[in-house]
Amino acid sequence: MTTELKQIIDLIKNEHPNYSDDDIKLAILNHIESNLPEIILKIKLPPKESSIHSFVESLKRARSSVRDFRLTEKNSKQELIHVLKNVREKLLERGETPTASTIAGNIQRIDSASTTLEEHLLATDTHIATLIDKQTMSESKASENLKKLEWLSKDD
């Protein structure tokens, strides 16, 4: 800021070499003061993000994180269950039925526990999405969504 102001003073000083820096500073301030109403009207400031916009963006990021977590959870669970089912099959092939039953029980418990977490994440997703709607005052786009889905799913 100081450098930019100094450059302006130097430019003016080139035209008026007999004046000191302080004289030019004072002249600039007087000029601004006398033209203030016009400056306020015409001044161009960089766009600043509103607090609501920033809040909505943070909500969208939160929603995206919830979804990523849910999808990772689903894939990890499927992978784990697949591995455990293979173990169970091998145990059955070896005739170790009681141990295979224990593994089957583990699979069932992991599946149920994971579903509970997924459902909590789904509910959280809903709450954040509703909060975004409220912040942006966006009305239901049901017809638009259905048209979009119809278009995407149409036969080629």
Binding site: L71, E119, S140, K141, K148
Partner: protein, 186 residues
């Protein structure tokens, strides 16, 4: 005035394992018009718009979430099923066996709660697991005044939808493997 919309999640998983290359996957799905795309771990995520998110994983799983008002649920589920089958076809996945999981977040009371109360004198619903037939597993979780209904285990969407509407209407004659959890620790 913001209308309540039900969040619907449709998840389809091939029964046999598949391993797709993510760049080939994106190329094969070039009919999808999206506002944003990103790849996270094994998933390619397409944001279709604010209310429709579609993800496809390298193991061939498809996940679509959208939000619609109550009167559009049936139509939407059919479209989600049709879209996921189109994606499977475009990815040239030859498996013909899939598991479908449908989850719906309901903000209105469901009549299944009355069924539980009348038949089993259970009125403190938190988490309920049960089967309406041997192939379809269902879980209902009550979170404050909302219900998250999750139905999985069938290839045919009509059977999944039937279970969903039976839960909503309370039109249930019997359930198998009923397990009720009264309270949950968070």
């Amino acid at each position: 005035m913001i209308n309540n919309k039900n969040l619907i999640e449709y998840h389809l998983t091939p029964v046999k394992k598949t391993n797709l290359l993510l760049d080939k996957l994106v190329y094969s799905l070039n009919f999808i018009k999206y506002s944003n795309i990103n790849i996270k771990q094994d998933w390619v995520n397409f944001d279709i718009n604010e209310d429709i998110q579609l993800s496809v994983s390298k193991n061939g799983s498809i996940n679509i979430t959208t939000r619609v008002p109550e009167n559009k649920i049936n139509e939407t589920i059919n479209l989600l099923d049709k879209l996921s089958k189109k994606i499977i076809s475009n990815l040239a996945i030859t498996n013909d066996e899939f598991l479908i999981e449908l989850s719906v977040v309901e903000s209105k009371p469901i009549n299944f709660e009355n069924y539980l109360k009348n038949k089993f004198e259970k009125d403190d619903l938190r988490i309920v697991n049960f089967k309406l037939n041997s192939k379809i597993k269902t879980q209902i979780m009550k979170i404050e005044k909302e219900y998250v209904i999750s139905i999985k285990g069938e290839n045919e969407i009509e059977k999944i939808k039937q279970v969903y509407w039976n839960i909503i209407s309370g039109n249930i004659s019997h359930v198998e493997d009923l397990k009720i959890t009264k309270s949950i620790q968070i």
